[in-house]
Amino acid sequence: MADVNRGNRPLSPHLTIYRPQLNSMTSIMVRISGNALLLGAILIVWWLLAAATGPAYFATVDGLITSLLGDLVMTASVLALWYHALGGLRHLIWDAGYGLEVEAADRMGWGMIIGSVALTFLTIIAI
């Protein structure tokens, strides 16, 4: 019957059932990094708004964004941005039908982790 088990169906990710693997962990981190970027995005928009408002208000927001906490959020945001970008690239490669073998997928997983850290250092050094 159509109404068997109605309303008692499991929601999508069964995190407690599967053994943690590089694939699942890097995928979960893509989701977390993408959504956590909201914090950095709010700060940048606030900074833009302050720059448009005037020097006095800008000083307040600039003080926040250049504080230790601001530096921490901005650095974490750059890391999240690069990680999420590389994760998105892996998603596009998978969507195209490539890199679906376990070894290839694992290689891309490590590539995302190492690549995002390297690109974050490069970004901080270069800027």
Binding site: P13, N35, L49, T66, H91
Partner: protein, 123 residues
Amino acid sequence: MAFLTDRKRVDGLGSAKTGTEHHWSMTITSVALLILTPMFLFAIGPLLGEPHADVVAGLSRPFPALVTALMLIVGFHHFRLGVQTLIEDYIRGMTRKIAIIAMTIISYGLAATGLVALAQIAL
């Protein structure tokens, strides 16, 4: 005896038939963001922490203004679709609806705030 047919009971409970559109929109915006992200970091990164006059002068130049505007539009559209999937995976019922509405308002609200600020600086 049941007066509802099985068909009637399940009608409207399946896919909303808009998943393909959502996925394709994410594909397009993700490719766009792969191009935009490095440009945005190099356009905006050097301005962070600079004095007010320098930031205003920097954002008034065409390239940083263009990259920032595109990042706000494409980035927040991509974020809205992504956060919607997050909400749909973990939250049910009325809370789900409220969360999706709230995040949609926040996404477009932030994008518009950034664009208006940018327009006032750059124009």
